[in-house]
Amino acid sequence: MNVQKVRKDFPILARKINGKPLVYLDSAATSQKPKQVIDAVENFLKTSNANVHRGIHTLTVEATEALDHAREKIADFVGVKDVGEIIFVRNATEAINLVAYSWGRLNISKGDEIVLTIAEHHSNFVPWQQLAAENGAILKIVSVDGNGEIDLEAFEKALAKKTKLVTFFHVSNILGTIAPVRRLASSVKRLAPQAKILIDGAQAVPHLPVNISKIGCDFYAFSGHKMLAPAGIGVLWGKREILEAMPPFMFGGDMISTVKIEKTQWAELPLKFEAGTPNIEGAIGLGAAVDYLQKIGMENVRKHEVGLTHYALEKLSKIEEVEVFGPKEVSKRCGVISFKIGSVPAHDVASILDSEGVEIRSGFNCAEPLADFLGTGPLARASFYVYNTKEEIRKFIEAIEKVKEVFHLSPKHEARNPKQNQNHKKINFQTVSNL
């Protein structure tokens, strides 16, 4: 993979931030877009725009074909043979909510158990917390260990007869941890065969070769905007027999086959779950993003990011004040690095890095329960993608030196500098009921 050639495809990389060249290290929040994706969207809007699945005129036929073609490419990209199982949604959040509202409310009731991890993104935590609060289901929250990995023993202990759903991240958006998804799925099959498995793949599909059909899960969710496509398009994959037994999540046009005053019949998959005019240009953009990633090759994407992550971890380890979270072994993690610089608040770290043109995320990064569990408070997070270079990581490290320079003082007050929680040594999993 020639990173300089890749960089030329991303127009935004030419801009400056505060007079300095942009160093974009926030791809875990959203990725930048290559001109191939921008052009595909623009070209569709300029030449073939029409609504889909409506009427018979030339443009609507072209638009429908373009949407179908995008769906086929995406299915192929993630190893799915049945295109009807690829449901277009807005993002991974909507995909998970679809499962929670449609499948969850039909199949999970009072006293049933939902097993998930402490490191879930809010999008895979709040929907289950709310379902439990609504109907008295029980959450079993599995810890991560000191290395940022899911505690496998606790995970297996949490699985029981009452487990209805098991859900976990494929890649953690904070720790970067790659979950051993096939192993976890086989544990579920062995210890709670009645349970369904939902995987949040939002941070995995953009960065790793993913073959959903080989994992052994029932649902898999991911977002387009984190993998070079525009925002507002994402995918829920589900097994056909499960999707067919599920009621629709939303009602309206496109999701019906016939509507009589007394009764409506639902459309076939995937349209049953795609009420209303879909994000046609978004799906076409995602199709183009898939083409782009396939041309590079996901193995090469992974290799590039392993190189960057290895380099960044090595550089960061040499700065005494820096503490890095997540697995120490590059083979167990993606290019997401959450860190702290001494007692400097994460937000100030991001602010000073921004003045150097280095864009990183700061805050709870949509995983507040994990920050509470680890006792870290808000964290700074740098994340990498195909367009990042070692040179940019050098600039990132230089900017960290700048933070140290500005914040040469340490706060005297204990409360400004909270002690880290050692929870992960004690707790295997927490059972939360009566929400």
Binding site: K16, A346, H347, S355, S362, G363, L409, P411, K412, R416
Partner: protein, 133 residues
């Protein structure tokens, strides 16, 4: 030329934001802690960055007799809370209703980049809640 000058201005804002005075307030804030027998306690969070403050007040005949704050936040929100807590001591709640964002920026004493306004105004949000309590 125009664009270049905007960039320079923004860099100035950034560096000015972390001047010594602000860092000293962060390092050793005024009124950090809790007042004894508080008449009123107000929490405020900024979910965007995870800043969280708790202000406790001792109120006497509509006036702030004593105030203290605890919490965890960025240097800017801590410095702003420190400066503002000092400023409101002895003032009447009625007068504080007129406290403007500009006045808070004047207290901070410098231009603030738009992204950091929420941090500066975190304690002001607390003061705005005073009259409702």
């Amino acid at each position: 030329m125009f664009r270049a000058s905007i960039f320079e201005f923004r860099i100035l804002i950034q560096m000015d934001l972390y001047r010594e005075e602000i860092l000293e307030h962060w390092q050793n804030p005024n009124n950090f802690g809790k007042v004894a027998d508080a008449d009123l306690v107000i929490d405020q969070v900024n979910p965007l960055c995870g800043d969280q403050v708790t202000f406790s007040f001792k109120i006497d005949r509509g006036k702030i007799k004593d105030v203290a704050f605890t919490g965890s936040g960025c240097a800017i929100s801590v410095a702003s809370s420190s400066m503002l807590s000092e400023y409101i001591k002895g003032k009447s709640i009625k007068d504080l209703e007129k406290l403007t964002g500009q006045k808070v920026l004047d207290l901070i004493g410098g231009p603030v980049a738009p992204a950091r306004l929420k941090c500066v105004f975190l304690p002001l949000e607390v003061i705005r809640k005073l009259k409702d309590n």
